[in-house]
Point group: C2
Chain length 284, copies 2
């Protein structure tokens, strides 16, 4: 009976190995799949950020426009690398881990088959014991039962050896697969991050070399440029005609007003057109 117990212990140990692998690989697979999904979400947000940056760039001053477009291109590159990362994770990490489920099922089927053989052996053994107690003198029946036990036992031995091979191969594969899958995982991640460093360095240089001053002068010229001639001129100059010399016309702080009173209406119209055009450009 000790041999049966020992075999039973082995089978339970093998089952435990396979069940534990099934559980662990399943959980690792679902977590690595979640990692891949979250990475894909990050890529989606990145894609939207690229679009938004291009839109913002379109309505900004010339230098900033060029700067933001370059940054958007770099961000788009990062998303391309992220897409490659997602595809590689799916092919080299998630895929193999999913396939692993099939292997585990096969090994569990082997174990089940062995258990049936083992159970048959035990039954033959019990039958023999009963016969020995019931009719100890019936040599022919006992000899037949002994033969049955012998055959069942040989079956069990052979199945044990097969199981041994299967579980050894399974364990070897498991160790190698864990190593391979995680080596692929960290390699894929490392390569992505290395590419991202490269691209973000370029974006850093682009943004660092942007100088807002030129754009600011451009903005001021557009908003205040031609319009500046009239901006501080009191309406009264145009409506009421030239100052009549009364003391009330001379207002403290309105010096610029009088200096700029020479602007003519056609220039004002041009400025207005310019502003309208600019405004339409922004809404564009």
């Amino acid at each position: 009976m000790n041999v049966v117990l020992s075999r039973d212990g082995q089978v339970r140990a093998m089952e435990a190995t396979v069940v534990s692998a099934e559980k662990h690989f399943g959980q690792l697979c679902s977590l690595l799949a979640a990692h891949t999904r979250k990475t894909a979400r990050l890529r989606d947000v990145g894609d939207r950020l690229v679009k938004q940056l291009i839109e913002v760039a379109g309505s900004e001053a010339p230098d900033l426009r060029v700067t933001l477009r370059e940054v958007a291109e770099d961000l788009a590159k990062v998303q391309d690398y992220r897409q490659a990362q997602v595809e590689r994770l799916e092919a080299k990490v998630i895929g193999p881990l999913k396939l692993y489920g099939t292997q585990i099922k096969q090994t569990r089927a082997e174990i089940k088959r062995f258990k049936q053989v083992q159970s048959h052996e035990l039954k033959q053994l019990e039958r023999l014991e009963k016969l020995r107690q019931k009719s100890p003198s019936d040599r022919q029946v006992i000899s037949q039962a002994e033969n049955s036990v012998q055959r069942a036992s040989v079956d069990a031995s052979r199945t044990t050896r097969q199981l041994e091979d299967t579980v050894n191969a399974f364990q070897r594969q498991k160790l190698k697969d864990l190593q391979r899958v995680f080596l692929d995982f960290v390699t894929i991640e490392m390569l992505f991050h290395a590419k991202a460093v490269e691209v973000y360095s370029s974006a850093c240089r682009t943004l660092g070399s942007y100088d807002p001053e030129q754009d600011l002068q451009d903005f001021q010229a557009k908003i205040w440029g031609a319009a500046g001639h009239v901006k501080a001129r009191p309406l009264t100059d145009a409506i009421l005609g030239p100052p009549s010399g009364q003391s009330t016309w001379s207002i403290p702080g309105s010096q610029a007003t009088q200096e700029e009173a020479s602007g003519d209406d056609s220039a004002d119209e041009a400025a207005l057109e310019d502003l309208r055009g600019q405004e339409q450009g922004r809404q564009h």
Copy 2:
């Protein structure tokens, strides 16, 4: 009236600048916040992966255990850097963009105030026109209306200058903020990715140097070691006593069976205990 129209055009251009900035900064803020949130989710999955790896390591063979624990430590470091990345993005990118909303509100309030002053100027102007048509000879009333127009016009001029300053400052700030926020964004990202490359390189080395062979021998010794003495021995040897010399006992391929028949029961028991202990260790 051209001056009024020109001012109106300026105000609309300024409003367009501010409204466009409000819209763009709002959208950038929400996208960068989404990027930060998705990064935080990736960190959460990473944390769960670290825990799972430590659990898996605990039930694996010695060398793989050490390897997986080192990889888990590296993965944990990446999550720490990711946490720092999330905090820095919140402080240096999302925070400033949110504050920007307040600045935009202030500028819009300035523009609203200017519009009121401008509307008052226009009303005074219309009143003067009416009086001139109704009672062109009433010099006193017309003179009073002219004074009102003059005051309103001076008010409008002063407010225009204030608005000019406000919008110039706003635009300068906007250009610098866009540069600053994106420079901070790409710098924070770049630093994170650089750290990640470092850590994943270390994990690559750890995993690359793992050799499953020693662990496999360890596994075989545990499952088949002591138990191996009985595994292929037919049960009949123990139950039926030594072979009786009958030809049926001599089964082809069972040579190992007979060679190993010398294993004793106490050794089997010890192996069984060992296996049970190991099984409990796996469930642990």
